[in-house]
Every structure is written in structure tokens, then in C-alpha cells.
């Protein structure tokens, strides 16, 4: 039954992204706690936006817009976001143990979302094709070269943000399909 399969796949996808988000939060807070208090304050307040390479991906930015978006759109956006981190995650700062966990999980999740898109729309992978405008691969390599603290901080902040986005989108999409499932009152 396609609906039940879809729900099951959604559950799996939501679990996976929750885990990835939790990892991103952990890495970021580890970095933050390793900073001096003064550095923390500076970084938190002064750094400029528009450093995430995923900024080029249009995505819903509030509850209302997210609720208005179709499941397919949410899935597509999620797919793109995950894809944008699939390779750059290998240059994430932090312990190598975590880093080695993240990249394969991202690939798995990307495939899962792809399956969900296919079951959701049936045919047509046109929306899934990667945006050729964004050279995902090279962006962070260029940044991460000098190993500056600021760059690491920004990269981790971006990663955390994107994981949070995908988690929110997938949770909303899952609730759309099965409203009684821990979604509301």
C-alpha cells in the first residue's frame, strides 16, 4: 500500500534527519564551548550572514509559508539542502569520528528523500536535478583552507541551520500525511 509505505519512509527519514541535526548541534556547541567567552560574544553578534552556500536554495522561511507549501515542494527543498552538504560535510571541522559519520548519513538520507519524491509525484525527476549554478563542492574547500576559527564557526553554523531546516520540513510533511502522529494538541 503506497500510503503506508510512504508513512513508513517518512518516519525513517524524519528519524535520520533528527539524528543529523542532533549531531550538527553537538559539533557546534563543542566548538562554541571551546571558545573564550569574549570570542563567543564577538562571533555571535558580528558575523555577517550570507556565508552559507545553501542560501541560494529557496526554501520556506516561516510557519505559514511552510504550511502552505506542498509536500512535494518540501521534499524537493530538503533533497537539495541535503545534497548541498553531501560532500562538503567531509571537510567539517570537529572530530574526525563525527565527520566520518555525517557524510554517509547524508547520502543515505538523500536517497531516502529521493524515494519519497518518486512515490509522491510518480514520475518526473525534473525537480530533483541539481542546480548547476551552485558549485557545492568548491565553496567550503576554499573557505576551510586557512583553518580559521571564524570559518569553522560559520561553516558549522550553516550546517546546523540547514539540518534544522530539513528536519522541520520533513516533520511538517510527515504530519501532513498522518495528522494524528504527534503533530498537534
Amino acid at each position: 500500500h503506497p500510503l503506508i509505505d510512504s508513512q513508513r519512509l517518512f518516519s525513517i527519514a524524519v528519524n535520520r534527519i533528527q539524528h543529523l541535526h542532533m549531531l550538527a548541534e553537538r559539533i557546534f556547541s563543542e566548538l562554541e564551548s571551546s571558545l573564550q567567552i569574549e570570542e563567543q560574544r564577538q562571533l555571535n553578534k558580528i558575523f555577517l550572514p550570507d556565508f552559507c552556500n545553501s542560501d541560494s536554495i529557496i526554501s520556506p522561511i516561516d510557519k505559514h509559508e511552510t504550511q502552505r507549501s506542498s509536500v512535494l515542494r518540501l521534499l524537493t527543498v530538503s533533497y537539495r539542502l541535503i545534497e548541498s552538504w553531501e560532500f562538503p560535510s567531509q571537510s567539517l571541522p570537529g572530530g574526525s569520528v563525527l565527520r566520518n559519520q555525517i557524510s554517509p548519513k547524508l547520502s543515505e538520507l538523500k536517497n531516502g528523500i529521493h524515494i519519497l519524491i518518486r512515490t509522491s509525484q510518480g514520475a518526473g525527476d525534473a525537480l530533483v536535478e541539481a542546480d548547476p549554478m551552485s558549485p557545492y563542492g568548491g565553496y567550503y574547500q576554499a573557505l576551510g583552507g586557512d583553518g580559521s576559527l571564524r570559518k569553522s564557526y560559520e561553516m558549522l553554523a550553516c550546517f546546523k541551520k540547514d539540518m534544522h531546516k530539513v528536519e522541520t520540513y520533513l516533520t511538517v510533511a510527515k504530519c501532513r500525511l498522518s495528522p494524528e502522529d504527534n503533530c498537534t494538541l
Partner: protein, 503 residues
């Protein structure tokens, strides 16, 4: 219209919410007094839909100075806008409603204090709304006690709470996790923490009796800050009431004790009576008209009184020993032989043969037999017809058991009574009739005949049982009854055998 309504409701909702009390008023006023520029010190969103920021105003403001604060913000390097709402969040605040709030975008804000004399601008403060989410504290924390059930003792408490703004959780926009802590009232600071959970209820099992404090807080899953603690709940685990099992135990125990008491105090003393009531004793064989106790302890005259009704009963004679005549004839013709009536002289004083082993006690004891052990026994050998006879002289004739006793206690006296007692010629042997005429001097107790020998022709030699020797001894009388009783079975057999043989 509807949007306006929604906006108004949200406005009211926000107005009801307290500003975030992160900074104590003490430091706040102190810092304010010192500040020359305003400072945005706190921004907060309860639901990732709208948020509010507060700043610290400048100090050193004279009374007449009119300072206006302006907050400017920009989203992600976009255009600069002014704060849409300075009121809803209270003084020195800026509230961004849902239409002005974007998630995952960086808001950089500055506050400018402008007065007639000076301008002061705060340093920029940048926030991503997703990072400043702190959910509301849970409310309506309550508990319900339940029996632990099964083999468990004690109670279990089912705790439940709710989130005050359920619409924040709509659509899965925010997924909450709750954390519950509890402690005993008597142990401050020793909070026991339960792991975070998604459900808004929890069962605490196996809590010891006592008072507890419970509190719960919540957080958006994976990000954000923990909410404030809910108002603590006082919970009391009562002592376990008597449950069904205990009642049953008490009942059974009480019954058992009561039964024991009844048995000890009531039944045991009356045991014999109760036993007689429920299990009546089998009546011992009784002789009509004879009281066995009487025989045991009765006096001789009483016994005589009783037995007088029976035929041929002659009461005991407390007299001197009766000496029987012993003939001095050489021939030892036994008085047994029916051929000739034995001369009286052949009667011998009955002496108790030592082989009998019985004390010659009873006056009715006619088994003091004719077996005088003296070689000069009056009982001579029969003619050689009876080769099975024991040779005289070879030893005493010992008839310890052949002789018949007086009729045993169980004998059928009626039988005896019905038979005519008359002396008959000795050739007709009819037990228990006397086989030979009684010698005149024979004592009237010649009623009992004793079978002594079985002749070759099947004839039975009956001997009148000797007169019981009167005994001066008193105790002998008491044993009379016992002797009567004792001798019954073998003697009766001998007698019946005799009669059968004869017939």
C-alpha cells in the same frame, strides 16, 4: 478581516506573556545607570513564529530629557527596517509578529537612543530566530494515584501535564520533549531526573510512601533552550490501604484463631461427651439381668441373688473344705467310667494340680479337676480299650484344659434352663445332664458335667465337675466373674464337640 482578528489575538497573547526574566532587576538597574548606549540584551521566541527583543536604556538621563529609542533591523543583508511594535513586549522592547518573523534568517538589530542632546547607538545584535526559541513552561501538572497492581506493593502515580499554547505545536512546526523531575519533600536538592520524552504524561512506579515535589519543563526537540520549570506539584503517596489480599488474610487468620479458641476452650473439655454423642459406643455384650460391674465388685450375696434364678445354680458355700472320700481300694477305678458308678470314695479332695497354674480361687471353679496328681489317683486306668490313654503312673493326668468350666458368661442360660434336669441313667449321655445319679452326699453342684475322655466307641466319659472348693480367701470371689468370662471359648468348644460327637 480574519487576518486582522488573528493579528489582534496574537497581540493580546503576546501582551499577556511576561518578558523573559533572564536578567535580574538588580543588575539591570545598575547597568542601566552606567550605560551610555543602549544595549540589546535579550531576544526570545516562544514558538518560532514571532519574537521579542529587549534592550537596556541609557543611564544618566535627566528628568526633563526625552529619549526616544529606535530599533532598526535587517534580515540577511536586506534592507533596514524599523521595529514594527514597541509596545507589546513592554518597555524598551521590540516585538516582531509572525508576519515580520523569518526563520533561518539572521536578524541584525541596533537600538538608537535619540534625545535632544545626543544620539547613542547600540552595538548590533544578530540573532537567528531558530536559535532563540524557548518554549513556554508546561502547565496543569496533576497526578492520579493508582494501585500498583499485580504483586507490586505500593502505589503508582500517573502524572499528566499540558502545554499552555497547543496551537504552537500545530503541523509539527515544533516538536516538544518534556523532562520531569521529582524529589522527596524531605530531601531538597536531590532531584531525580527522568529522561526526556515526547509524551505529556508519565507514570512513576514504586514510589515509597511520603510527600513529593514534581516539576516538568519542555524544550523544542533538538534545539532551543529549556523552558522554565512548571509550578511544582505537591504529591503525597499514602500508605497502602488494606487491599483485597490483606483482607482475605486477616479474615482467614481471624477464623483460624477463633477456631483454635473454640477447640481449646469448648471442645476439648467436652470431648468425651461430644464423642459419645457423635460416635455412640458399641454396647458391650450384656447379659440380661446381669450387671457386669456387679460381678466385678459385687458381694457374694448379691451375686447369689442374681444367679438364683438360673437353673441348678447353687450358691457358693462358704464352708469348710469338703473332703471327698478316697477309697483305699487298690483298684483305681475311675469315677469316669460309666460302667459303674464311681464310689464316692473315689472322690478325692480336689486339689489344685500344680500344672494348671491357676490359683484355686473361685468357688465356682470346678476345673479343679479330678486330676489329683498323686499316684493314688482315684481315676484308674480304663481297661485296655483305650490305648491312647495315658498310662497311669507315668504321670499325672493332666487335664488342664479339657475339663469344662462352669458355663461361661456367654453361655446360653436359657438353653440350660430349658433342658430338664433330671438324673438319668448313665448310659445315656446327655450333656449337660448328669450321667450318673448323684451320690446322695454329692453336693448339689453336680449339675456340671465335664467331658474327660473320649472312649474308643465314641463314648464320652463325663465327669461331674467337682464341687468347687470353698475358699476362705475373700479376693477369690471377685475373680469368679472373671474366671467365668475367661474360660468360655475353649471350653465351649469342648462341650459342643462332645455333644456333636455324641449325636
Amino acid at each position: 478581516m480574519r487576518l486582522l482578528l488573528v493579528f489582534l489575538i496574537q497581540l493580546v497573547g503576546v501582551a499577556c506573556r511576561r518578558p523573559h526574566p533572564q536578567v535580574s532587576s538588580d543588575t539591570h538597574t545598575k547597568a542601566t545607570a552606567m550605560a551610555t548606549t543602549p544595549l540589546i540584551y535579550h531576544c526570545w521566541s516562544p514558538n518560532m513564529e514571532f519574537f521579542t527583543c529587549w534592550w537596556r536604556p541609557v543611564g544618566n538621563v535627566s528628568a526633563d530629557e526625552d529619549v526616544r529609542y529606535t530599533l532598526s533591523y535587517s534580515k540577511d543583508k536586506g534592507p533596514v527596517h524599523e521595529c514594527p511594535d514597541y509596545v507589546s513586549g513592554g518597555a524598551n522592547s521590540c516585538h516582531f509578529d509572525s508576519s515580520h518573523t523569518s526563520i533561518w534568517k539572521m536578524y541584525c538589530m541596533t537600538v538608537t537612543a535619540a534625545s535632544a542632546r545626543r544620539n547613542a547607538t547600540s552595538t548590533p545584535h544578530c540573532v537567528d530566530v531558530a536559535d532563540i526559541v524557548q518554549t513556554e513552561a508546561p502547565v496543569n501538572l496533576s497526578y492520579a494515584l493508582r494501585d500498583a497492581g499485580g504483586d507490586e506493593r505500593g502505589h503508582s502515580a500517573l502524572l499528566a501535564w499540558s502545554y499552555p499554547v497547543p496551537e504552537d505545536l500545530q503541523y509539527g512546526w515544533i516538536t516538544l520533549v518534556y523532562e520531569l523531575q521529582y524529589r522527596r519533600v524531605t530531601e531538597p536538592g536531590d532531584w531525580k531526573v527522568k529522561p526526556p520524552q515526547r509524551e505529556s504524561q508519565l507514570e512513576l512506579m514504586g514510589l515509597p510512601v511520603g510527600g513529593y515535589l514534581v516539576r516538568v519543563r519542555c524544550r523544542s526537540h533538538n534545539y532551543g533552550l529549556w523552558s522554565e520549570w512548571s509550578s511544582p506539584l505537591q504529591m503525597t503517596i499514602p500508605a497502602r490501604p488494606l487491599a483485597g489480599k490483606m483482607l482475605v488474610l486477616i479474615l482467614v487468620g481471624g477464623l483460624g484463631v477463633a477456631t483454635l479458641l473454640i477447640i481449646c476452650c469448648g471442645v476439648v473439655p467436652q470431648g468425651k461427651r461430644i464423642k459419645a454423642h457423635f460416635l455412640p459406643p458399641i454396647p458391650k455384650p450384656r447379659i440380661g439381668g446381669i450387671d457386669p460391674l456387679l460381678l466385678k465388685r459385687g458381694r457374694l450375696d448379691e451375686i447369689d441373688q442374681h444367679f438364683r434364678t438360673f437353673h441348678s445354680y447353687s450358691h457358693t458355700v462358704l464352708s469348710e473344705e469338703v473332703w471327698n472320700y478316697v477309697s483305699t481300694e487298690a483298684s483305681h477305678t475311675c469315677a469316669l467310667w460309666p460302667v459303674e458308678p464311681p464310689p464316692i470314695s473315689q472322690w478325692e479332695k480336689p486339689a489344685p494340680p500344680p500344672s494348671l497354674g491357676d490359683p484355686p480361687t473361685a468357688p465356682l471353679d470346678a476345673t479343679i479337676t479330678t486330676t489329683a496328681m498323686a499316684p493314688s489317683s482315684y481315676c484308674g486306668l480304663p481297661p485296655a480299650q483305650a490305648p491312647y490313654m495315658q498310662p497311669v503312673g507315668a504321670g499325672q493326668w493332666e487335664w488342664p484344659t479339657v475339663v469344662a468350666a462352669p458355663p461361661p458368661a456367654t453361655a446360653d442360660y436359657s438353653l440350660l434352663a430349658t433342658q430338664p434336669v433330671s438324673p438319668q441313667p448313665p448310659d445315656v449321655v446327655q450333656f449337660p445332664q448328669p450321667i450318673h445319679p448323684l451320690p446322695p452326699q454329692a453336693p448339689p453342684t453336680d449339675f456340671y458335667t465335664c467331658a474327660q475322655l473320649l472312649g474308643p466307641g465314641g463314648e464320652v466319659n463325663l465327669v461331674p465337675c467337682l464341687t468347687p472348693t470353698p475358699q476362705p480367701r475373700a479376693p477369690g470371689r471377685e475373680e469368679a466373674g472373671e474366671e467365668l468370662k475367661k474360660r468360655s471359648p475353649p471350653d465351649l468348644r469342648a462341650e459342643t464337640g462332645v455333644s456333636a460327637g455324641l449325636n
